[in-house]
């Protein structure tokens, strides 16, 4: 195991222990080693992916996933201006919670994407179908991430998609949340373009889907 791998492992442990101070120290050490933003980004994303996979496997809690995301987001936020890095804004993305006021899932995905250096608009929670559609149109969103907690809210994605199409939009929809985890084919039945039930893989999904556009 090389130095960087050891550092990432230590960083993951600090995140799992919700130890903000230790995580910041390790981030600084990584920065001091080669002053590369890519390395910082790599450390954050790698740690979040490993932690996310641990949640999938049932060995790590959702609370740890959330807190790790928030800590990484804060750290990346601190180093972006220092290194004069601009956030990635292709594709133009937004995230929101349909109907429900439970925003944890949305917040996790938001943090992971921000920690990965992406720009993303937060539409908020408790949104109606009409509100989601209007905000998507106003902001010319190319990729819309919809988080839901309850089955009726998940089923409303179908209406969102239909209204977007009606208005001539080609916005892609990624869905996530409990109903999509409990019913593996629900995302297709509601007309979503991408199954985003695994939050930790969201960066890979977006990069694979939009790489050509961004390059």
């Amino acid at each position: 195991m090389n130095n960087m791998e050891l550092l990432i492992e230590e960083f993951e442990t600090a995140l799992l222990q919700i130890n903000r101070v230790k995580a910041a120290e390790l981030f600084e050490r990584c920065y001091d080693e080669d002053k590369s933003f890519q390395q910082l980004e790599h450390m954050a994303i790698h740690a979040l992916e490993t932690i996310g996979n641990g949640w999938e496997a049932g060995t790590i809690s959702l609370s740890q996933v959330y807190m790790a995301g928030v800590i990484c987001e804060e750290l990346i936020e601190k180093y972006l201006p220092i290194m004069q890095i601009k956030r990635k804004d292709i594709p133009k993305m937004a995230i929101g919670v349909l109907q429900d006021h439970h925003a944890l899932g949305k917040r996790i995905v938001y943090s992971i994407l921000r920690a990965g250096g992406f720009e993303i608009i937060d539409f908020g929670q408790g949104l109606s179908v009409q509100e989601v559609v209007e905000k998507t149109m106003e902001n010319k969103i190319e990729l819309l991430l919809i988080s839901t907690l309850m089955l009726p809210s998940a089923l409303k994605v179908k209406e969102v998609k239909a209204k977007l199409v009606e208005n001539g939009l080609t916005t892609q929809i990624i869905v996530g949340g409990a109903p999509f985890r409990l019913d593996a084919t629900l995302w297709e039945r509601v007309g979503a373009d991408i199954d985003g039930k695994n939050a930790s893989s969201i960066i890979h999904i977006i990069e694979n889907k939009f790489r050509k556009v961004g390059e």
């Binding site: 799992l16 919700i18 949640w55 049932g58 790590i60 809690s61 959702l62 609370s63 740890q64 959330y66 807190m67 109907q99 429900d100 006021h101 439970h102 925003a103 944890l104 917040r107 408790g126 907690l149 309850m150 089955l151 009726p152 809210s153 089923l155 409990a178 109903p179 409990l182 019913d183 084919t185 629900l186």
Partner: protein, 344 residues
């Protein structure tokens, strides 16, 4: 053998005439009476009528006096949002900052309209079913209630970084939970379903749970004057089974994600299992899937009693059809009659 005897046998880890079936039906009552969900829950008499009808129709072994999860939020003065095709949900959290916590007071159960409706429904149902069918009342665990009171993100910050506010809110919630559970038992509930999704390692890591919610759960359950069924609302249970048993609870609502063979051995003669059907997926079930699922569950977890069949979330979704519920009930009678067939 009546439903009460059948259930008591399962909880005592004995084989009754068949495996009991607890269809946790709340919203379906509105369908049964063909009225909107909000109207349905506005009168306890509606719930009484529908629960009795559904018990007969599905040969259900329990009466479920659960109205909706945020009823406790309503009691605290918070908002409840009704929809036409799903469970009422909590609105904007009413605790907006940590300073508010020092001023929060628990609602008085007997002076709160929404809670009084549940108590009235329980009393009326008790008169109807007497001791022949268990009546299951519901409370939210004091440890899990803050997700609706203040939002999950703020609550996690409190669990990890604000011990004083956490302690204060637990004191308020514990006092309320105990009074609310005991009022339902006094009104005629046989047992209390203690919803506690945050006890699952899916939600909070065990180490943190043991120093926070676990202590709350032990104190609370010890003061409830009747049996409790701890339900983790589809969260995995296996890593915390012994901890949950130590809280004194009698029944464990387990998850579709828990390994059936492992959980059966871990709970045998210790705690009765309640579960573990995937309610969300149930929307897609056909006759074969229903039969296969029930047969598999019973064959792996039914022997020696200790199993009550139910969904793994604590409420059958509105979208599950009547036909599926009837097939499910039939499958329980077909595969769950003791002694279980060897070929299973």
């Amino acid at each position: 053998m009546n439903s009460f005897e059948r259930t008591m046998a399962a909880i005592s880890h004995k084989e009754a005439d068949r495996v009991p079936l607890f269809l946790l039906l709340s919203l379906h009552g509105a369908k049964e009476l063909q009225i909107p969900i909000k109207k349905y829950f506005s009168k306890p008499e509606n719930v009484v009528k529908a629960q009795l009808k559904m018990k007969e129709k599905y040969q259900n072994d329990c009466i479920y006096t659960f109205f909706y999860a945020p009823i406790e939020i309503e009691a605290f003065g918070g908002e409840v949002v009704f929809v036409d095709d799903g469970p009422p949900n909590s609105g904007e959290p009413f605790i907006r900052n940590f300073e508010q916590i020092s001023r929060i007071k628990a609602p008085l159960v007997y002076e709160t309209d929404c809670l009084k409706k549940v108590l009235t429904a329980t009393e009326l149902l008790k008169k109807e079913v007497r001791n022949e069918t268990p009546i299951i009342g519901v409370v939210m665990s004091p440890f899990s209630l803050p997700v609706m009171q203040m939002g999950f993100e703020k609550y996690l910050e409190m669990i990890y970084f604000r011990k004083d506010e956490f302690k204060k809110l637990m004191e308020v919630n514990e006092a309320f939970c105990v009074e609310w559970a005991n009022a339902q038992l006094e009104a005629g509930a046989t047992a209390i379903c203690y919803f506690n999704p945050l006890a699952s390692p899916n939600m909070i890591e065990r180490d943190t749970y043991l120093t926070t919610g676990y202590l709350t759960d032990r104190r609370t359950i010890a003061r409830v004057k009747g049996p409790t069924a701890t339900h983790l609302a589809s969260g995995i249970t296996i890593p915390v089974i012994d901890d949950l048993i130590a809280t004194g609870t009698a029944v464990l609502g387990f998850s579709e994600s828990d390994d059936l063979a492992v959980i059966k051995e871990a709970t045998r003669n210790k705690i009765c299992l309640l579960g573990n059907l995937n309610g969300i997926d149930m929307v897609n079930w056909d006759y074969k899937k229903t039969n296969d699922t029930i047969q598999n569950l019973i064959s792996k977890a039914g022997d020696g009693g200790g199993l009550i069949i139910s969904d793994n979330h604590g409420e059958i979704p509105w979208q599950v059809s009547e036909d599926t519920l009837l097939e499910l009930s039939e499958a329980v009678r077909k595969f769950g009659t003791y002694p279980l067939m060897r070929s299973q």
